[in-house]
Symmetry: C2
Subunit: 115 residues, 2 copies
DNA sequence: CTTGTATTTTAGTTTGATCTAAAGTTACGA
DNA sequence: TCGTAACTTTAGATCAAACTAAAATACAAG
């Protein structure tokens, strides 16, 4: 219930992750597969922000790392998010919103392997 | 109850304004007086963001413009903010947090009048 | 120990958010 | 109508969030 929580859920990208994790545990890799427009590294960084804010936690599981939401940390905001996600209009807006809110460099061509 | 609300309360500066307005109406000028580290223009811009998110509204009053919080738009988040503000520890942290989270240019010396 | 897979961390880049300063707008009152 | 006060908007500057690519780490299994 502090400022870090509020700024954590202020980011559409992080809300996207929360939504994926809302009713299932997922590995970092699975989260990344569901977010094809960013690199694995970017997902990992946002997971760290969420973890530092206490909104998600992870445990090792063989060679994987499994993430889950800590709903209790969200308090009443959890219900708000659920309402937003249940709203069909919101779903339609999601893609546009993510595209709009993109920051950072555009994808670059991977340098072709030196031979 | 949409994404604009969540990103609006994600900013410490805007939460500071919400707090000032929480239990009283204030003119834009009065808000600025309570925030001596930013210019009037910056306050006005943040008030616009809050108004666009539906979190505050304003009405003209003679030569002034009076702002007030629309608590109903905040839903359960309002109670969360109150809890945060009631927490004495949070109060101690406020100044440091604002200093840390500053963005944009540092104040420049006002150019001395050409003579 | 080596190889491969999963993830984190680092270094560097881009862009939007936030700011300042100044110009523009609106409304009151002399 | 003119001036002034209150506020908003614009143009430009700076900073940190969010990204990419690549290097580093962790850990399992052969």
């Amino acid at each position: 219930m502090d400022a870090a929580l509020l700024s954590a859920i202020g980011s559409p990208r992080r809300r996207e992750i929360l939504r994926l994790l809302w009713d299932q545990e997922l590995t970092a890799g699975a989260i990344h597969q569901a977010m094809p427009d960013v690199t694995f590294g970017a997902v990992s960084l946002q997971l760290k922000v969420l973890a530092d804010a206490g909104l998600v936690e992870s445990r090792p599981d063989a060679q994987f790392r499994v993430y889950r939401v800590r709903r209790e940390a969200l308090g009443p905001v959890g219900a708000m998010l659920e309402t937003m996600w249940a709203d069909a209009l919101w779903n339609l807006k999601l893609k546009a919103e993510l595209k709009e809110s993109r920051r950072g460099p555009r994808p670059r061509r991977r340098r072709s392997k030196a031979r």
